[in-house]
Symmetry: C2
Subunit: 118 residues, 2 copies
Amino acid sequence: MIKYKNTVFNCTMELAIELIGGRYKALILWYLLDRTLRFSEIKRLIPQATQKMLTQQLRSLEEDGLIIRKVYPEVPPKVEYSLSESGKNLKPVLDAMCQFGKTYVEEHSIYSPSLLQS
Amino acid sequence: MIKYKNTVFNCTMELAIELIGGRYKALILWYLLDRTLRFSEIKRLIPQATQKMLTQQLRSLEEDGLIIRKVYPEVPPKVEYSLSESGKNLKPVLDAMCQFGKTYVEEHSIYSPSLLQS
DNA sequence: GTAGTAAGTATCTAAATGGGTACTATATTA
DNA sequence: TAATATAGTACCCATTTAGATACTTACTAC
């Protein structure tokens, strides 16, 4: 039993789902794996998410200590997001997910020109 | 670009999130990793999920070919769920998630008597 | 004859999520 | 003078998701 933010989790798996299970969380973390990104860059990488959604997910990730938000006091604003040490621990999870997705596409003969190229 | 079920995914990560990102999906898959379970057993393992939610998630996992649903024509009903070959490919993902959760709890000094015991 | 069982479905309501638009700041550019 | 840029927030409305409860089947036990 794990208590975190007024919620009880029965196992570490439940906690992990809570931490990275949000709509665009895993995707954001995935893009942050290899580099720091500005808000606008993340928005360009995940165009299907509205600005509100992105902000929400980023705030939640920051609150859970998975990413670091660095604000530059400039106009127009500049905000950079990067993985925290805790966030970097997610690399095995994200790598495994990506690999699973690839295998799934191959085994289910799903149309994917980009996979044929690479 | 990947097309699956009338939806376009920009990368395999997005597809992976779609497949296992549902409310209780990763948890169900996690419990199915080492054994076949009846519906009532899953319900007992995940009491916070309503029957409707569980049925929904199980149906979705079945549709995506991650689990196998075996119905025994009996009364009262008996239905067994197990991982498909595709579902078994998720083991590295689920193991990594569990490990991440453990590390997260340790590093954030979250109250967890069960972790102290094990 | 009634209750219990397993795995659901059906229906209604409540809550969370998501989309759209407008608004903010200040410096630079056209 | 007006537009552009960035990273948001505020507000309202629509959709989706989730919860609660009742109902089903056919057999068995009390």
